[in-house]
Each structure stands twice: as C-alpha cells, then as structure tokens.
C-alpha cells in the first residue's frame, strides 16, 4: 500500500484500530468496477485509502483493516457496489482524545 504523500506520512499513524479477522466491506461485483466505473471514486474519496485498483488482477483491493468508519461508504460508490457493514461490536476504529 502506497503512502499518501511524498513525505512518507500516513494518517493511519495517528489512528487506533482493533482489526477484526473478518472484513466488514465487500465489493458486490468486481465486474462492475472493471467495466462500468470509469473514475473509481472509492480509490480517492476514502480518507484512509481502503480501496485501491490492482493492475495485476484488474480488481479493486479492499484493505478493510484501514477503515475508520467515516460512513462515506456505501453512499460514495456511484454504482452502489459496496456492501459496507459496521464491524462487529467493539471492533474497528477506536478514536481517542489527542491520540492518547
């Protein structure tokens, strides 16, 4: 996974996430991503880059462990192609005051 900026900083350095062993995010149809979605907005609207386009497999890769539950999914996908659920209770992002 590439970093966000040239200076090698990633916002995920400042987030605590309790990662579940199951993904709470699924792509409904990879075919739609490949054939019907020109700009692939999920690869840029997501504030932690959970989604990335993989040239090798021609698929959207989902790094669900990076999700901070901003709730832009599933609204953001123009084809309603993201099956987004809350992580199970207690899992996922744990926001803390001043990162303590």
């Amino acid at each position: 996974m590439s970093n966000f900026l040239k200076d090698n900083q990633s916002p995920l350095d400042y987030v605590t996430i309790k990662v579940d062993d199951q993904s709470h995010i699924k792509i409904k149809s990879q075919k739609k991503c490949l054939n019907k979605c020109e700009n692939k907005p999920c690869t840029y609207y997501c504030p932690t880059r959970v989604f990335s386009w993989d040239d090798q497999s021609n698929k959207i890769k989902v790094a669900y462990e990076r999700c901070i539950e901003c709730l832009a999914c599933p609204f953001g996908c123009p084809l309603n192609n993201i099956d987004w659920n809350f992580p199970q209770g207690g899992y996922g992002v744990i926001y803390q005051p001043n990162g303590q």
Binding site: P11, Y44, P47, E69, N98
Partner: protein, 436 residues
C-alpha cells in the same frame, strides 16, 4: 447484562442517545443504552463546539464537571483566498463566565462522560454491542409494532419502545422504513486532525488568556471549487482542524480528503497557527447536510428517531439539536408510559414538538441554502475570491482617489458574476455558518 426487558432501548450513546437516557432514567423508566464502540466516543468526532444553553437543559451547570476544553470567547469567520483572508470576528469576555456560550471539546472525552451521567441516573449502558436489527410484535391482524432489538451476538432484547439515536448512517432508520435513500449531494465528508501544542503557544497565537478559547470557521481556499468548509478550534493543549465538502463534489472533482487537509494545513495563514504542533489524531466522518428535504419520518408504532439519524442539523449546530430531540423523545415516551400506549397515536406528539421547535424553523429556512449550494458548487469560492480581491484593492495605498477606488472595486465584483448571485452567495454562505 442487566435484564432482558426494558421500557426503552436506545441505540447509540452519542449526544442524542445519552440525553434521552438521562431524562428517561430520571423519570424512573428502565433504559438500555446500547453502543457499538468499546466505549462511547470511540466512534464519534466533531469540530467542535458544545453549546452551553441546550446542554444545560440536560445537565444544569454541566461545565462544573464535564471534560471540556476551553470556553470559547472568540468566534471568527474567514473568507480565505490563496494568500489573504477577509476576516469577520467577535470576542466577548462575558462568555468565559457562567452561564457561558460555547466550549471547545473532544468527543472521545465528552461522550463517555455524558453516557456515564445516564448510568449514574440508573440506565444500563452496554458497550461493544452492535444492534443489528429491530424486532417486531403483531398488534392486530395487519399491524405490528417495534418490540425490541437484535444484537450482533444474536441475542434479542425486548422493550416497550426503541429510540434510534444511531447517528448519520441511519441504518436502522432505513430498515424501519422511516427514510428513503440518502443522496451523496446531501452528505458532507469531513476529515480532522488534532494537533498537540503547549497552552502558552495557543494563547499567544490566538491572543487568549488561560481558560479562553477561539474558533475560526473558513470557506474558500480550504476546499477550492468544492463547496466546503474548514474550521479550527483551540483546545486546552491542542488544536482541532477540520476540512470537508459535499461528498458528490469530492467524487466529481477527484478530490482526496486527506490531500485537502494537507493543502489546508500548508496555507500560509493556517500553517503559522499550527507551526510546531504535532499531529496526534486523525479522524473522519460524514454529516447529513440535507436539511429539511431529507428529514425522515420521526416515529412509528413503538419507535422514535432523534439526532443525526433524524437529520437534525442546522448550520454549525448538531450536538445540541441531538440533545434537544433526545429530550423531546424522552418526554413523549414518559407520556406513552403513563397512557400505556406506545403506538404512533401517542408517539406522534414527538413529531409535533419537533415541528414547532425553534430549530425546525432554522432547518426549514436552510432549505433554500442547500439547494443553492447544490446548484452553485463554486459559490463559496467565488464569493471568497471577490471579497479578497476587493479587500486587496481597498487596503492598497495607491495614488487614486477613494471614490475612484470604490468604483473600481464595485466594477470588479460586478464583472465576476451577476450581482444578484454575489449577494445571494454572501447570504447563504453566512446562513450556513450562522450560530443563530
């Protein structure tokens, strides 16, 4: 885990849910307050200001005890262009004393404290618990009413009534058939950083004394071209910085929220305020900006909706309207219990109360503004540019007479866009930001 039957189940321990829980428990109703986070406040974020008057209706003189950052005495609004800003502001030192006006706060501290007040009144708080579904019971041949919730563990808990205070995603509200699909043009996506900075630095940079705080709202440059906003709050020993815009415009323009934030932080008038500050937290969250058009139905048999899930948002407010709708819901539920009738016949009193409230008038008033932003995504940007160009001209020491100068400024603003639109831009821009 307490009993398996309650008078009221509340989904979500945010400001709406906890306010309702406090009031209900005070009225001796049995309350389960259910939160999916391992603690309240681990999933929530805002700018943010906590408003003194509405919050003190839930807990009088809450400032004596609540984990707040600074009483806000300075409120500024900046029209930010590339290397300039037109600033409007007010400092009122009266606001640093009781009954105060607003406080800066961090939700990951405030929310757990607020929920704890409900527990102190007798509510059962269940954390790390996700409500998956609503459970119904038949009330006749054709009718059914909400009778409880199903948890992610599979367990079912029963209640007379369920209050949805689940925030912006409004999943269960949708499942209950109380709202339609949400459009991306009704959603704002924000990112936030909290940056640690010693108190003395904060005070000297913002011209404050200890226990005084400042809030700066900004439009224009932070989001360029996308109708959006930036904001800055001084905390005790940190600065909260947010930036965001309409989700559909972010999608259309290929913008990345994180890069928007980096660009905002690098602005010469912003970077000097956060110079030397160390990033300690990164957060992100949507906010429903639909306003009046997208309000869901607020009640049905055995169920009510409050707070963000009910799109109770107006300008920069949100937590306060969440708390007030939580209180109204609690009052109606208490009436329903007295009448032993939790059907929509009684619960519709909540809708009436909300419709007649002062904030509904504001939400309705904002209706045109939302449509306007939709139709003119560049409005804030153009307005900011015009104001800054004019200000540069106005303050420049040159050799033309002041009447010539004013004439030129006027001409330039008129040239930029039809004057009617400029005036509207200012009006809607301010209205969207107003604190009323």
């Amino acid at each position: 885990m307490g009993n398996d039957r309650y008078n009221v189940i509340i989904v979500g321990a945010g400001p709406a849910g906890s306010a309702a829980a406090i009031r209900l428990a005070q009225n001796d109703l049995s309350v389960a307050l259910i939160e999916r986070g391992e603690k309240p406040g681990t999933k929530t974020m805002f700018g943010g200001s906590i408003y003194a008057d509405p919050t003190s209706r839930v807990i009088p003189e809450f400032w004596e005890d609540a984990p707040l950052e600074r009483p806000l005495v300075t409120d500024e609004f900046w029209l930010l262009d590339r290397d300039s800003a037109v600033k409007v502001g007010f400092t009122g030192l009266k606001y640093k004393r009781s009954p105060y006006n607003k406080f800066s706060a961090l939700r990951s501290k405030f929310d757990p404290w607020f929920a704890q007040q409900a527990v102190n009144e007798g509510a059962d708080l269940m954390t790390s618990t996700l409500v998956k579904d609503l459970v119904y019971e038949k009330t006749g041949l054709l009718n059914k009413k909400v009778a409880g919730v199903k948890l992610d563990s599979g367990e079912v808990i029963h209640s007379d009534v369920v209050l949805l205070a689940e925030g912006a995603s409004a999943n269960l509200t949708e499942k209950a058939g109380l709202r339609g699909e949400i459009e991306t043009s009704s959603m704002f996506l924000y990112v936030k950083e909290e940056l640690a900075l010693p108190a003395e630095k904060i005070e000297s940079r913002f011209n404050l004394e200890p226990n005084e705080g400042a809030n700066v709202g900004m439009i224009g440059y932070p989001t360029s071209g996308i109708a959006g906003k930036g904001g800055l709050w001084t905390n005790k020993e940190s600065i909260s910085l947010i930036v965001g815009g309409y989700l559909n415009q972010i999608i259309k323009k290929g913008a990345s929220p994180y890069q928007m934030l980096s660009r905002f932080k690098a602005h010469p008038l912003v970077s000097r305020l956060i110079d030397g500050a160390k990033t300690v937290a990164y957060k992100s969250r949507i906010i429903p900006k639909g306003g009046y058009e997208s309000l869901p139905q607020l009640y049905d048999d055995g169920i009510l909706v409050a707070g963000d899930a009910a799109v109770m948002i107006s300008g920069r407010r949100g937590t306060d309207l969440a708390m007030l709708t939580g209180l109204y819901a609690a009052d109606i539920i208490a009436q329903a219990r007295a009448a032993e009738d939790y059907s929509s016949r009684v619960l519709k009193g909540y809708d009436k109360r909300v419709s007649n409230s002062f904030f509904m008038k504001n939400i309705k008033k904002g209706k045109g503004g939302h449509q306007y932003q939709k139709d003119h995504p560049d409005a804030d940007y153009l307005l900011t540019k015009a104001a800054n160009d004019a200000a540069y001209k106005f303050f420049e020491v040159g050799s033309e007479s002041s009447s010539e100068k004013m004439k030129k400024i006027r001409q330039e603003i008129l040239d930029m866009q039809p004057i009617k639109k400029t005036v509207k831009d200012i009006y809607y821009g301010l209205q969207d930001w107003s604190v009323f």
